[in-house]
């Protein structure tokens, strides 16, 4: 490597490394790194790969649980035991910044990336979700982003052939510049058929399979390199293009190659490409590798070593194979017409040695690159922002109660945040796989049968980021509680979570304070619900110079299990005459509700009422009601409050409701407040006695709200709020009116 130019602290800075990090690299190597080596450290020590600014806090989250097969950070995704020798791998990941730039391809490649994380473990994906947040929907830019993101997810996910069964859609102007696109996937694997992201066995061949490598996603390094020219800039693709067909081939070939028994370890290539897979697998397996970069199949000409190493080209996998079994592996990739090339072999040096046309171009120790090894760890400063204390001063008395609550109801029904999501969901294939149990039976969470077993997995994504902004700790605990409530109402048992932590710049103490609070709240709630955190991803820098950070948005993807499929509970009212009960307590609270934010346009408020202990107790009662078949429907009270929950339950079968309010609290709070810990259930008259008995033995409050009617009228205290047919017409078409259908 004598003839290669050595680097300086300036180059290190251009690559995003701190001066002390450059010193540390020289210590590790015992010399000054060349550009290839420095770019390796820069990308591996970036927040994205090393979690250097977040890991200290992430480590405080509960990781253990009776059902955990692979804990957070151990593999590409968390792995949960469903029983009977079946495991479920699941994870959520962000693709925010690429989607802001080019929504269609950004979102599509996000879907590709999360699915590779699942099948690289040997699990076949069976369900996907996505959690989307955009800015003000009246802006043309927002409409462009929504249309592009949804089309990208639709195109990639549908062709890949895994149903998209649920998700979130939320609009607020804080996301005008920085939309959030979080993609979730869950897959099923038989015990003993999982594959680890590891590498060992001296002499074992290292394969790269799938798409050819191009100069994708290497802008940062390319601009820091000294030899950048106008021509080489033009060679850098501005956008990564996803190829779902290639991904589908990769899925089938990957699962088939695992069955050959020839695979030692495997990892997909996402962020930081070959170098990331090489270093993480080698560090885990405590071995090294010699890699010949010129043997990597390339899509573009004249690629430099650092470009090949850092390339984020999609639809690729790295596989370490047991020596002597090469033919078995190659036959599988040949069958699926995929590239499959040996690029090097495993060594016992614990170093990664890279060659280009016979010349050594980099030599770095694997362990020093990775999280848990030599990657730096920082404790960032944090400070309570001024707005937090202001929020606590909010009093409901300061907000005049509107005289016309029907008008408020109409405002909420017509609001994009509460509208039917069918403009979006109709573009996703939700039924492929013939296992989605909730397409024809609406439920608070998606329920997907695991073929060949009597079980189903229950999935939901939740985060009301307005609550998290108001109070990060409480707001995040609410996100976990809401996810658990949705799974419970669908008849499932909450098991574990994955998280996607979308925040602003971590170097701003007020932003980091939001992050710390969110982690504390998540830890508390996950401990209470016994849902360990299996992993996920951190996305900082969702912030632009002119708009400030987005609402802190720790999206919770929760997995539940349904051991008997007839435990499935739906949210829709079934029969006129059924009694409508509220399980949980009404509160005189409108804090941080959609009603307060969009009708009164008041943002300075604390998070809504929430009591973790009572919430947990309420879930246990609901589980009993479902298990003993005491109730006809269950639907949680969430965004938009009780009135919206009632209309959502009424719409599927076009039934109405007649309810009475609670005179002890304000009627706007009763109808539109978003106090947590409440579920609307319906009970057939014949079951009323059993219901009341079962509720009476619990400590959870409950009250009779009224009855379901067949006329479709929605009445409160005798006042007509509308007919469900008209309400449904508005609710169904809010997004169509704004976004168009042609």
């Amino acid at each position: 490597m004598e003839n290669q130019e050595l680097t300086t602290v300036e180059t290190a800075r251009d690559l995003g490394l701190l001066p002390e990090e450059f010193d540390r690299i020289q210590e590790i190597l015992g010399r000054v790194p060349n550009f290839t080596e420095l770019s390796i450290f820069a990308v591996m020590w970036s927040e994205h790969c090393s979690y250097k600014n977040s890991i200290t806090w992430l480590k405080t989250l509960p990781k253990d649980g009776p059902r955990m097969l692979a804990k957070a950070g151990e593999e590409n995704a968390g792995l949960v035991d469903l029983g009977d020798g079946i495991g479920c791998a699941f994870k959520i990941e962000s693709h925010n910044h690429p989607s802001a730039l080019e929504p269609y391809q950004g979102a599509a490649t996000g879907v590709g990336g999360i699915n590779r994380d699942i099948f690289t473990m040997g699990a076949r994906p069976i369900a996907q979700m996505n959690s989307l947040r955009f800015g003000d929907l009246s802006l043309d830019k927002t409409k462009w982003l929504v249309k592009g993101v949804v089309k990208g997810i639709s195109h990639y996910g549908n062709a890949f052939g895994i149903p998209t069964v649920g998700g979130e859609l939320f609009f607020d102007e804080c996301y005008n510049i920085n939309p959030l696109v979080n993609a979730f996937s869950a897959g099923i694997v038989k015990a003993g058929e999982t594959v680890s992201a590891t590498s060992y066995g001296v002499g074992n061949p290292v394969y790269i399979v799938g798409s050819a490598t191009g100069k994708d996603g290497i802008h940062g390094a390319a601009f820091a390199s000294k030899d950048i020219t106008e021509d080489s800039v033009n060679d850098l693709p501005a956008v990564q293009v996803g190829d779902p067909f290639q991904e589908k081939l990769l899925l089938e070939a990957t699962l088939e190659v695992i069955k050959t028994g020839a695979v030692i370890g495997m990892q997909d290539m996402g962020a930081a490409g070959i170098i990331c897979s090489n270093s993480e697998m080698s560090a885990k397996g405590e071995h090294g590798m010699i890699i010949h970069l010129d043997r990597v199949p390339m899509r573009q000409e004249n690629m430099k070593p650092y470009e090949i190493l850092l390339s984020e080209s999609q639809e690729r996998m790295l596989i370490v194979v047991e020596k002597g079994k090469e033919a078995l592996v190659e036959a599988v990739f040949d069958k699926w017409d995929l590239n499959c090339a040996i690029i090097g072999e495993v060594t016992d040096t614990k170093r990664l040695e890279y060659y280009m046309n016979g010349e050594k171009v980099a030599d770095v120790p694997a362990d020093d690159l990775v999280l848990g090894g030599g990657a730096p760890v920082y404790k960032r400063e944090y400070r309570e922002p001024a707005y937090y204390a202001e929020n606590q001063k909010f009093k409901i008395e300061d907000v005049a109660e509107p005289e016309n609550l029907v008008e408020v109801a109409e405002h909420l029904i017509g609001h994009a945040n509460l509208a039917s999501k069918r403009w979006v969901t109709d573009q996703y294939d939700s039924m492929i796989g013939t296992s989605t149990m909730t397409t024809n039976r609406p439920s608070d969470a998606a329920v997907v049968a695991v073929k060949g077993t009597d079980k189903a997995i229950v999935l939901t994504c939740d985060c009301n980021s307005r609550y998290v902004y108001a109070d990060p700790q409480k707001g995040t605990a609410i996100a976990v509680a809401e996810a658990a409530r949705n799974i419970t109402c669908a008849g499932g048992e909450p098991v574990a979570i994955t998280n996607c932590l979308n925040f602003g710049n971590p170097y701003i103490p007020e932003v980091y304070w939001q992050f710390v609070g969110a982690i504390k709240g998540m830890g508390e709630a996950c401990t209470k619900f016994e849902t360990p955190v299996t992993g996920g991803n951190v996305s900082f820098y969702n912030q632009s110079s002119d708009e400030g950070p987005v609402f802190p948005t720790p999206t919770i993807g929760m997995l539940g299990v349904m051991d008997e499929m007839d435990n499935l509970m739906t949210l829709d009212f079934k029969q006129p005459g059924d009694l409508i009960y509220l399980v949980g307590e009404s509160q005189n609270d409108i804090a941080s509700s959609q009603y307060l934010a969009s009708y009164h346009k008041i943002l300075a408020a604390p998070a809504p009422y929430f009591d973790l202990e009572k919430e947990y107790a309420m879930h246990q009662v609901v589980k009993q009601l479902i298990k003993h078949k005491v109730i006809q429907s269950a639907h949680d009270v969430a965004d938009g409050g009780l009135y919206i929950a009632l209309t959502e339950a009424a719409m599927p079968n076009r039934l109405g409701f007649d309810i009475e309010s609670d005179s002890s609290i304000r009627k706007d709070a009763f109808l539109f407040g978003e106090a947590q810990g409440r579920v609307v259930v319906t009970v057939a008259p014949d079951d009323q006695e059993r219901f009341v008995e079962m509720m009476a033995t619990s400590e959870t409050e409950f009250s009779l709200l009224g009855t379901v009617n067949g006329s479709g009228d929605a009445t409160v205290d005798g006042e007509l709020f509308g007919n469900i047919t008209d309400i449904k017409m508005v609710h169904d078409n809010v997004l169509h009116v704004i976004l168009g259908d042609e």
Partner: protein
């Protein structure tokens, strides 16, 4: 009956139809890989839904040149029964085994939801057992399902009773509002003049079990089997 399900590399509804034929309908099924030339003695060939070869040029355009399709084309020419669902229907039109073509949906978006269908003729294997007044609730999932044929072909289809299904509303009325994708005359599926090749866009295999909460699709499979067994 012995069914042969063709598997292209981008097929993704292959396992769904195999599951229904095997486990729900109790039939024998063989998998036919696109690179093979052997139909393995199958008596009824099914081309499943999916994205055969990525469908980048046009849906089904490349699939029809695969080795197995040469066998399927010959099989159909001799009167063998062939049925295409969704992408399978697109492939059959590209291969010239069925008249017409499938254009992009009228709203230029992928559409996945339940729609209603009415059987249009008692004179076909797949519709014979279905009550012509019944509106079947069947899922749809495609981006290119807008059926098109020129005026002469369309006239011939109607004159020869070759339309299998039309889109309708819940009450069975065939209206423009109930046409999800812009198909000519609400056509959802057709047969050839020899009445041995069948194609339609909706997915009855997604509505064939209590598990998914909809069993309207069984009517189509039962129609196929009742006649085969008769």
């Amino acid at each position: 009956m012995k069914f042969g399900v063709v598997i292209f590399p981008g097929s993704n509804c292959d396992e769904d139809i195999i599951h229904v034929l095997q486990n729900v309908m109790g039939q024998q099924v063989v998998r036919l890989w696109h690179k093979d030339h052997d139909l393995q003695g199958a008596e009824f060939i099914v081309l499943p839904g999916g994205f055969s070869f990525g469908d980048y040029l046009r849906s089904g355009a490349i699939a029809r040149f695969s080795p197995i399709m040469q066998e399927v084309i010959q099989f159909a020419a001799k009167g063998g029964k062939v049925m295409g669902i969704c992408n399978g229907f697109q492939i059959l039109t590209e291969a010239g085994l069925l008249p017409g073509a499938l254009l992009h949906n009228r709203n230029r978006k992928f559409i996945c939801r339940n729609i209603y269908l009415k059987a249009q003729t008692p004179n076909s294997l797949v519709t014979r057992g279905i009550d012509p007044q019944r509106a079947l609730k069947i899922p749809l999932a495609h981006g290119e399902g807008n059926y098109f044929a020129d005026a002469d072909v369309l006239k011939a289809l109607n004159d020869n009773d070759q339309v299998l299904f039309r889109y309708c509303d819940e009450a069975g009325n065939i209206t423009d509002d109930s046409n999800p994708n812009g198909s000519l005359e609400n056509i959802a599926g057709v047969t050839n003049s020899g009445r041995n090749v069948f194609g339609f866009m909706p997915h009855p295999e997604r509505a064939a079990e209590a598990l998914v909460g909809n069993q309207d699709g069984l009517a189509i499979f039962e129609s196929i089997l009742s006649l085969a067994n008769a």
